[in-house]
Structure formats: C-alpha cells, structure tokens
C-alpha cells in the first residue's frame, strides 16, 4: 500500500495532487514514476484495496435488507445519492453523504450531484465504459459555433490514450470507425444471441448505426505488469461497485495506487479537505493548499512546487472559486471570467425496449460487466439531424426477464413457482447517451451565505437542458423504436424522461481549456493561463461533452499534463 500516510508536514513536495479518484490516481502514478516526490491530498477516508470492500461478496440473504437501504438512512443521508442506479446497501459507503455535503440549486433548476468522497473517489463506483474521443469531437465547437474551440486535436492525445489503455486494460473489439477510434484492446466480452441479431439487422437496414460490444476497463487477458500489481482477469460477477478484490476493473486502488506506491515517492494525506489554494502574488505561483481536517475540523497546510487539481469537475472548480485573492477577486486563475461557466453533463433521458422471440433455448453464464454500444452517428455537421445539432450514442443490452420483473404477472402457486424457476422472455433495451451543448448560462458558483461544516461555501448549481437536448432525446426514442421494429421485436416501448442534469455522472466544463486566456482558464496542457504551476486535469477542463463516457479521456489528459509538466521542470521553466 501507499508509501506513507501523513498528517502534518512542513515539507515542500515536488508536486501536490488534490483528489485520489481516476485523475488523481493517474497524476500520482505518472509523477511518482518520473521521480517526483508526490503528495496526494484527499478529503475522505483511506479505503484499502480488498480490506475495505465490506459489501463485496456478501450474499443477499446475509444482508439485513437484501441489498435495499434502510429508509431512514436514505431520507436522512442519501436523498440525492440514492438516485444513482449503483446505490445499494453493499455500495452505499462509497457514496458521498448528502447530509454532510449539501449543495444548492438555483430556483426552477435541478442538478443531481453524485459523489464519492474517499480515497479512490468515483473510480471505485464507475461503470468502466471507456471510449476515445475522435477528431471531429475536438472540432465540433469550432464547426458549429457552440462553445470555444478545443486547443487540442485527437493527434495530441492519441499516444496518451494508448499509454493509459495499456496500463488500465480495456476490453473491446477493433472496429476502425471514424467516430470512435480503436483503443489498445484486451479480448472483448461476447455478444448474446439477440444482440447478434440486432447487429445483423442494423448492418442490413441501418448502415450508419453500428453495434459493438461496450468497451470496458476490465482485464480479460492481464499483462505481466497488471498481474504484478495484483490484478487478475475479470470473474464476471458484475458486482464491481462493491469493490473488486480481483482488481479486475480499473480503479485507483487496483491500479494507479499500487503502481505509484511501488516507487516510494507517494505520500497520502487522507481526511484532508482542501479549503483553498495558497497563492503568492509576488511569484504568481501557488504554494500549496489550506486544509480542514475531515474529522476534527482543525486546520493545516501542505506545500509543493506544483499543484494538480484532480478533485473532480465540480470539486476542482469549487476550490478555485474559494481561493479568491486581491488579484483574482472572482476565483483563482479566473482572469477570463469563465470559471464556473459552461457546466455540462450527458443527457441519458431516452430509453427504448422490446421483446425478442426465437432465443428461448439460449442463456448465458456469468454476469457480463458491460453492454452493447452503438456509437454516435451524427458526429460531424454533415451528419447532423435536421432537428438538433451534435449527436448521441445508444448503450444497452439483451437480458432475460427474471423474478425481479415478473412478480406482478398473474398467477400464484405451483404454476407460478415453476414459471419463475425458468428465465422469462428475452428483452432488449437501449438508452440514448446524448451530448449537451456548452452554454455560458449553465454554471456553478459559490453560495453567497451558506457554508458546509468545514466552513466552505456550498456549491450552487444553475443548469438546464436546452431544447436541443430534448429534441435529440425525442429523436433517439423514435429511432430506437424503428431499429427494434426492424429486428422484429414485439412489445416495443420508449420513454423520454426529464431526469436532472448530473445523473449521467459525466459532469464536465467549468474551467475550460482554450487557446485564448481571455476566454478560457486552462491552456492545451491543462495548465492555468494565469498561474504556471497550477494544473486542472479532470473534467473541468472540457470544452464540450462529446458523446463518449469521459473518464478515459480524463486519464489521457492527466497523463499528458504530467508529461508536459515534467518536461517543463526539466527545461527549467516550471
């Protein structure tokens, strides 16, 4: 495990990383492996790989409420978190506690902020879907005029994508698609019968909609390095969010932390809530962070030559906003005034489903931890739909009904029991995953009066879906129905919901990159325009959402920023 946990230290580290989730873990590994003495500052408790996965492998009948969470506890502490599909009695301890971590929303708006405030952050809870962005994703803003142009292109990230993929381990199939560049893959999970049938239907009738197996950060054929870190191949339990002692999915605990710890360069300060950054206006550099102890609320400081903010999109921007100085009255590194603005999430508000006949004799063994994926087909302006701009992907999968959805069927007694003993109908389900446009009005700020128990102003959200997102979801529902009907599915249904932004848990933007310091917070290397030794490498840096799940890109951006910073140090410029 980590080289050492620290509490007090007056030492100046080479680098200080705020956050230990997907991006913080990557920053730590990359810096440590380059010989930088690294301090990782995490607001939550230490979670030890394996040891602290208290929900793992506990049979449902051994759980007091069979995986449900006690109502009083939900009402008191998890009102928001329980909206997340992965929240249950065996995972709840990895979710932020809404009572301790309140936030506010502007009148007539809603935002569901799903959090994981502990060592490992959301890397313990994520669904592992991993996709590269493509070149048109980086060009979209400049082509249709929403948001600012990304200062980077696909070619800038390509090598770093490969780098993070080879280490993390991504299962999938090479497809050679322009809108979804291939990763460095480990062998894919298999498609099921009805999914293969849908794939064949699409190939025949829907040339633009290509069905592939979901690319996921699961080991299917671990490398020697992965095995040496204690990771083995996925056992197909699909109970990942409880924690995985096999280390089969990528998380900070399974992957980046052991790699960083091996170097003896890593120090971790858990239970250290970063209140703000310490800025020296003479040198124009940040010197470190002010910390409030998570438990006893005492104050301390940590110092370093370079600071990487990896506290998640909202977390990092909250720290910047709370670090105002005379020079930066509206938030540190905010000479542009865009800090907090252009908050985005994905829109997951259209679901489609149907029944498929003809596969009754088929079943599956194991629980596949990924689904099917139909990549974005509106990926450049020429391919935009007439009713909206940008695009969406479908994710989903086939499954057989079981007792969970069949309890309300008519029948009781022997016949009912015998029926439930066998799997039910084959169903197929698709969910749209749509891009959200970057808009100045969608933003987070600090509440003017309310503070949390650490004395930090609450985050206030002000974000709404636009008509573009709504039109996209309506269109997705229609297309989904068409595809299923072409397949010959029956009992086809679709549903367009109005779930709040935040629930896709892909929040990005608020400290965006850009070429022009007047309209962006960070440059193309995730370095603050205003403060050269300050970097933000999480989703806050995004200029647009694209359609793909973002975390693989967070990893690549982080690895690239570290590479750049290390070179700058070597060249004597940092």
């Amino acid at each position: 495990m980590p080289s050492s946990y620290i509490n007090e230290s007056k030492e100046e580290f080479d680098v200080l990383i705020v956050g230990s989730g997907i991006t913080g873990g990557w920053a730590a590994k990359e810096f440590c492996e380059r010989g930088f003495k690294t301090l990782m500052v995490e607001r939550g408790r230490a979670v030890k790989h394996r040891v602290d996965y208290i929900g793992e492998n506990v049979r449902p009948w051994k759980q007091p409420f069979r995986q449900r969470v006690e109502k009083k506890l939900v009402d008191d502490q998890y009102k928001i978190q329980q909206q997340c599909y992965a929240f249950n009695d065996a995972t709840k301890h990895f979710f932020g506690n809404d009572k301790d971590l309140p936030y506010s929303t502007e009148k007539d708006t809603k935002f569901s902020w799903i959090r994981a405030n502990q060592l490992g952050g959301k890397s313990l809870l994520w669904h592992r879907q991993s996709y590269r962005l493509c070149d048109s994703d980086f060009k979209a803003n400049s082509l249709d005029g929403y948001g600012n142009d990304w200062p980077i292109r696909y070619s800038d990230l390509e090598g770093f994508y490969s780098h993070v993929e080879e280490f993390a381990g991504i299962s999938g199939t090479p497809e050679n698609l322009p809108q979804l560049p291939d990763s460095k893959f480990q062998p894919p999970f298999e498609l099921m019968g009805p999914e293969l049938a849908l794939k064949a239907t699409l190939e025949k009738d829907f040339p633009d909609q290509k069905l592939i197996i979901g690319r996921a950060a699961h080991l299917t054929q671990p490398t020697e390095l992965q095995v040496s870190l204690g990771r083995v191949q996925c056992q197909a339990r699909n109970e990942c969010q409880k924690g995985c002692s096999f280390g089969a999915y990528f998380s900070t605990q399974s992957s980046t932390l052991p790699a960083a710890a091996k170097t003896n360069m890593l120090h971790i300060a858990p239970n250290s809530v970063v209140h703000s950054l310490i800025y020296d206006d003479k040198t124009k550099r940040v010197k470190g962070v002010r910390v409030i102890d998570n438990d006893d609320l005492s104050e301390r400081e940590y110092f370093a030559k370079i600071v990487f903010l990896c506290a998640s999109t909202v977390g990092s921007t909250q720290i910047l906003l709370n670090s105002s100085t005379k020079e930066f009255p509206n938030g540190l590194a905010n000479s542009s005034g865009v800090l907090g603005h252009y908050l985005m999430d994905h829109n997951y508000n259209a679901d489609i489903g149907g029944t498929i006949e003809g596969f009754e004799g088929e079943y599956f063994k194991g629980r596949r931890p990924t689904g099917i994926y139909i990549p974005n087909f509106h990926y450049e302006p020429d391919r935009y739909h007439s009713k909206f701009i940008r695009g969406y992907a479908f994710a989903g999968g086939a499954y057989r009904e079981n007792w969970g959805s069949r309890a309300s069927e008519d029948g009781i007694g022997l016949d009912f029991k015998n029926r439930l003993k066998q799997p039910g109908k084959w169903k197929i389900r698709l969910s749209a995953q749509g891009e959200m446009l970057p808009q100045f009005e969608n933003r987070m700020s600090l509440h003017s009066t309310r503070k949390d128990k650490w004395g930090i102003p609450l985050v206030n959200f002000d974000i709404k879906w636009s008509d573009n997102e709504r039109a996209m979801m309506r269109s997705a529902a229609k297309l989904g129905e068409k595809m299923l009907s072409s397949l010959g599915a029956t009992e086809i249904w679709s549903n367009v919901k109005d779930d709040a932004p935040g629930l896709a848990i892909h929040e990005v933007g608020t400290a965006r990159m850009g070429r022009d310091p007047k309209e962006s917070v960070l440059n193309g290397f995730n370095q603050a325009h205003d403060i050269s030794n300050l970097f933000v490498t999480d989703g806050a840096s995004f200029c647009s959402t694209a359609v793909q799940n973002p975390s693989l890109t967070f990893m690549a951006l982080t690895a690239r920023a570290v590479d750049y910073a290390a070179k700058e140090v070597k060249a004597g410029r940092l």
Partner: protein, 207 residues
Amino acid sequence: MTEKAHTEDKHDNQKRKTLVALSGLIGATASNILLSGNGFEIATAYANSDAKSRKPKLFTTAQLEVLERICQTVIPKTDTPGAGDVDTHGFIDNQLHHCFDTTAQKAISNVIDTIDQSALARHKKSFSQLESLTAHTLLNDIDLCKSGFKQKDTEQFKFLKYLIVFGYYTSEIGASQELTYDPVPGGFKANVALSDIGSAWGSLGFF
C-alpha cells in the same frame, strides 16, 4: 471444537481449495495476493435460527400467521421449500418496517386483513386455517380481481406478491436451491444452452 471454529475451519478450507484451483488459472503469486481480499469469502450457512421466537415489528401475531400462509400459497413447497418455509413473512415484516413508508406498510397490513376477512366471510375460518385448495382459490381471485375483490385489493396484493417474490428469491434457498446461484462465475459465456444451466440464475441483479 466449538461450532464457530468449526465453520471457520470449513470456510478456510473452502477458501484454500478455491485458491488452489485459481492459481492454475492466474498464477500462484497473483492468487496469493488475493488471500487478503474478500473475493473468496465463502458465506457461511445462513442461520435462520430465531424465526419462531422473533417478535414481529409491524404486524400482530395473527396477521403474521395469515401472512405466512399467504407466502406459502403464493410460492408453495415443491422439491424445494416454499416461501412460508423460509420465513418470507418474517422478512416482509422486517423489510416493510425498515425500508418502506407508512403508506406501503398500511397497504400490506390492509391486504392481509382483507384476505383474512374474506376467508371468514366465505368459509367461516381464518385464512391460515383453510384447506390448500380453498386458500389457493381465494388468492387467485384477489390476484385476478374477481369474485368480489376490488381493484384496490388486487393492487395491494400485487405489491405483497412483489415482496414475497423478492423475499423468497433473495433467500438462500430461493436463490441457490430453487434457482442457480453462481457467486464467482470465472468469466462470461454468451449463448449457453438453457438446458445446461437448468434454471434461471439466482445471482443476477446484485451489482
């Protein structure tokens, strides 16, 4: 040897066996690393010990007796025990108390009473005293909303049925004897013949 030591010993043995099997697959070093983890925890047998002595949290003893009979009628004993046999009624009492609001609690309490009163009206006996076939017919009527039952009765009954089904198939017997429970599948295989598995999986949907 005490009972506890005995189960722990069995447990360790099982763990060791699994590890030996696995080290062939993933190498001895890696499987040793895993020793400290929870991945191999083999759950010790479920002790359904104090089902009889436990005090109900929501229902009266009489209601619980009726509920037990309802559970057993909805999911009867076959070559595996029925829902009443595995204390699904106790589970429901506990679950409703801890995980549901008062509206839900009242609905279930209501439908238990409705069923019992209808048994009294029809047969002059408590539901728990009815012959199997008579009990079956009565529940079938409420399930299908006929023979005098109202829409509301049927809705409440469907909710109760959901709880019975949930409780039974998440019990050890329901999940692992009636259905097939596979805690560590070892990998994923699509397109397996259903006849090779033999029943629905009891290990789905617990992520």
